[in-house]
Subunit: 188 residues, 2 copies
């Protein structure tokens, strides 16, 4: 039976395990950075068996991606301000804040690290992007439904997110509000 | 006396040491990846004393940056085709080829790694970017001298290089010629 397809009940033992494992991963990332701990260390820290982690997530890469996505969705939810310009400015400012925060580049370094972790890592990275792209696409679709003309999701990646990501990855910070707004205005 | 400011004679013992050390670094990068070897291991591989490396380069970060820049200048020299569109298209295609080659993302991963190696790493990364930006600026200045209107060097980073870098770092390859030309055309 495939654990990943089992319907999860909110609350209960299952939710507690997820919360404990996520917390353990978050702590280990803060202490050591992505890529510097094993499934066994996560399990020990969370007080669960290694096998529970493998059964639920399949691999360290998938677990890391799940944590990253949960974190992104909590800290950078897709805005709905009523206009595309407003949505994109709010979203870009959230991303800028997130990636320049105290442990901010962590998700970014994860996305980069995944691409050099073989097929499982590439798949985990693709899943992470697919989910965020799906959310971004909803924002763009809402704009089109209102009659606004909207760029493609990949244009948002290339011309708003990529410049901010690279500046942070290269240590070219801070990202000023003027700079971030400028990226949005230029794309629109 | 500051070794870094000493004039280097072409040829001779000095040039041999540089060549041997560069080769050792290139081999170790291919075998292990950036960040997974020490100055001592480079010295052993190159057949020189650790102190020779520290005297000449000061730190592993500075040495890695020197190797990266030498490599970039050899493989992606700045083109001079007579038009800005031609120059930028040629340059973008070179960069795309370089970063998607067999050990291609290596320089990219170096630039990312440097930003998390403290002050010396940040400085080395800044030096690497400053040198490449200076070369890019010459290309843009030549265009302006011919009467063409040219973007800023940072716009080239944000809207041509950053999208390609992020796609490679995230494993979203290949970079098709249409995609790469499209980035240039959009900026111009």
């Amino acid at each position: 039976m495939n654990e990943g397809q089992r319907v999860r009940r909110p609350g209960g033992r299952s939710a507690r395990v997820v919360a404990q494992v996520h917390q353990a991963v978050t702590d280990l990332i803060l202490e050591r950075g992505y890529g510097h701990f094993t499934v066994g260390e996560v399990a020990a820290r969370a007080g669960v068996a290694d096998s529970s982690i493998y059964r639920r997530w399949g691999s360290l890469e998938t677990l890391l991606t799940d944590v990253a996505l949960t974190r992104l969705n909590a800290q950078s939810p897709m805005p709905d301000t009523g206009s595309l310009a407003g949505d994109l400015r709010t979203y870009a400012a959230q991303v800028a804040r997130e990636i320049t925060g105290s442990d901010g580049p962590a998700v970014l370094h994860l996305a980069v690290a995944l691409s050099s972790r073989g097929q499982q890592g590439l798949q985990a990275g693709a899943d992470l992007r697919a989910e965020r792209t799906r959310q971004l696409q909803s924002m763009l679709d809402r704009a089109r439904d209102r009659g606004e003309s909207a760029p493609d999701a990949l244009d948002v990646l290339d011309h708003i997110l990529a410049p901010m990501y690279i500046r942070v990855l290269f240590g070219m910070v801070p990202l000023t509000p003027d700079y971030v707004d400028g990226l949005v205005d230029r794309l629109l």
